[in-house]
């Protein structure tokens, strides 16, 4: 890690976190510090608790014990939500009523918008830029329901990027996404990482994003069983090339 952890607050600080879902302990005593600028992959099998960890970090699930701090503030009191870009695990970006790509991405700006105010020109430009990053600018007027699964995921990424977040949290962004879209993701994430954004992503299969990761955390049955360089771990069938973290260090410096 090239970041000096003493000079900056941790982007994410998880201390002795236990989470209870319907009477079942899904996370047990998890400790995790993520420094600003780090790119962390959270790995593990189904039911290992990785999605629960992510949802607790963004405040969607309450902690039964322990606490989560975002940029030094405990989550229940955290108010700077525009610093967080969240990509939930979704099969589709569509709701019960048609909505265009532009409309869905605009909802990513709500943490900055005041009530009863129209969209400003700067907001429109931000939406446009986010759509450019995921290569969807030409589909801005199309309904999200008409897009392919990979394109819908790209819309969700753009929605998270539009507020220019300092911390990007992605829950299974590549699940069921074609390789072309995964490549575009990886490029979008790479660009954010170059700007110093902290990235935390949950994934079964990192695909083209593999090269960006400089740390992996492996969960099993609600506990962290590995935390360190992204070398081959039990959940991976393949072996990462050694030294990939060093190759990518340039993005952080």
């Amino acid at each position: 890690m090239t970041q000096d952890s003493s000079s900056t607050a941790n982007a994410v600080q998880v201390a002795d976190l236990s989470v209870d879902l319907g009477g079942r302990l899904v996370l047990r005593g998890v400790d995790l510090q993520i420094h600003q600028g780090e790119v962390v992959a959270v790995l593990g099998t189904n039911g290992s608790g990785k999605s629960t960890l992510i949802k607790t970090i963004v405040g969607l699930l309450p902690a039964a014990r322990g606490e989560v701090k975002l940029f030094g503030t405990p989550v229940p009191r955290f108010r700077q939500w525009q610093r967080i870009g969240y990509v939930p695990q979704r099969i589709t970006a569509a709701g019960g009523v048609p909505a265009t790509v532009q409309e869905v991405v605009s909802s990513g700006l709500l943490s900055k918008r005041r009530l009863f105010r129209p969209l400003k020109a700067a907001d429109r430009a931000a939406v446009e830029e986010a759509l450019e990053i995921v290569d969807m600018a030409d589909r801005r007027k199309d309904g999200v329901a008409e897009l392919s699964g990979g394109q819908q995921q790209r819309v969700l990424i753009a929605r998270a990027l539009v507020s220019d977040p300092d911390l990007l949290i992605l829950d299974e962004p590549t699940a069921g996404v074609d390789l072309a879209s995964q490549g575009i993701f990886a490029e979008a994430i790479r660009e954010r990482v170059a700007r110093g954004t902290t990235v935390v992503m949950v994934s079964h299969d990192l695909g083209p994003m593999d090269a960006l990761i400089d740390r992996s955390v492996v969960l099993r049955r609600g506990r962290i069983v590995y935390d360190g360089l992204p070398h081959a771990s039990q959940t991976h069938a393949h072996v990462h090339p050694h030294g990939s973290a060093d190759d990518e260090a340039g993005w952080l410096s």
């Binding site: 963004v58 969240y86 709701g95 019960g96 009523v97 409309e103 605009s106 990513g108 709500l110 990979g150």
Partner: protein
Amino acid sequence: MTMFELEFMQRALIAGLLTGLSAPAIGTYLVQRRLSLMGDGIGHIAITGVALGLLTGTAPVLTAVLVAIAGATAIELVRARGKASGDVALALLFYGGIAGGVLLIGLAGQGAATLNTYLFGSLTTVSPSDLYVVVGLAVTVLVVAIGLGPQLFAVCQDEEFARVTGLRVQLLNLLIAVMAAVTVTVAMRTVGLLLVSALMVVPVATAQQFTRSFRTTFMTACAIGVTACLAGIITSYNANVAPGATIVVLALGGFVVAAIAGTLVRRRRGVLAPLADEEPEIGVPEPAPHVVSTTHQHAHDKKCGHPAVEHGDHVDYVHDGHLHAAHGDHWDEH
């Protein structure tokens, strides 16, 4: 004297106009949240509210709006706490509302005729004081539905994401429920409590046949709602039938026409512009090289004596140390 000079018709038309605007406006959010039947549940609860008003001698509009808000809040809390799923919560209130209403109306000594005017609407029941309440409530609903549009859209589109942007999701959900309750009461006089939900859902479903964006769906649904309401009220006057039924039948007729036209338009578009090429396929393995067995003169079948081997979707035959598979009129080496 034409019907437009009759005072009760003027009031009915104003109430109809506002109902036609506010019901689809809030209905769009309900449909987006996939809670289309919420208006129906609230309508049933409001029957108890009306009965309570008749029993105690207070204005039924007032008691209906209070009971409807209480019921809508209950639905939302039960749903949010996850104690019962949204549809079960709705079902419980459906039955409780209608049973309580009929019971209380019986106690109040009112007959089925009075109840009918609230269940299916009635042109003559909109009193001047009712009209003020209806106008006030409808304008409030419209201001909230349009003014808080971006926030309500985000909450209905993706609740979890909305929470992570820092929106007060529970409060906004409650606001939608309360607005739905208010709309039900607004619509009670023209469409009636049993059919109000149709006016929330049918115009939205009709608009969706042609629209791509949320904003145009919202506006088209409101336009359809107003048209159906005004046309329904005028028809109802001329044919002397309940306005609620007329409005809903007209709205449904519009939906059927739109659904057929929409299907035809989409099919035509599909024929003229076939699906654009999806992303190029990367990582799909090349098909194995196609090697034709040149010298093969022998046709394999089940009885040829060569061992048969299942190979994916076909059968290979072992022949002199090679695998042969049928391919059109020749045999491939596998």
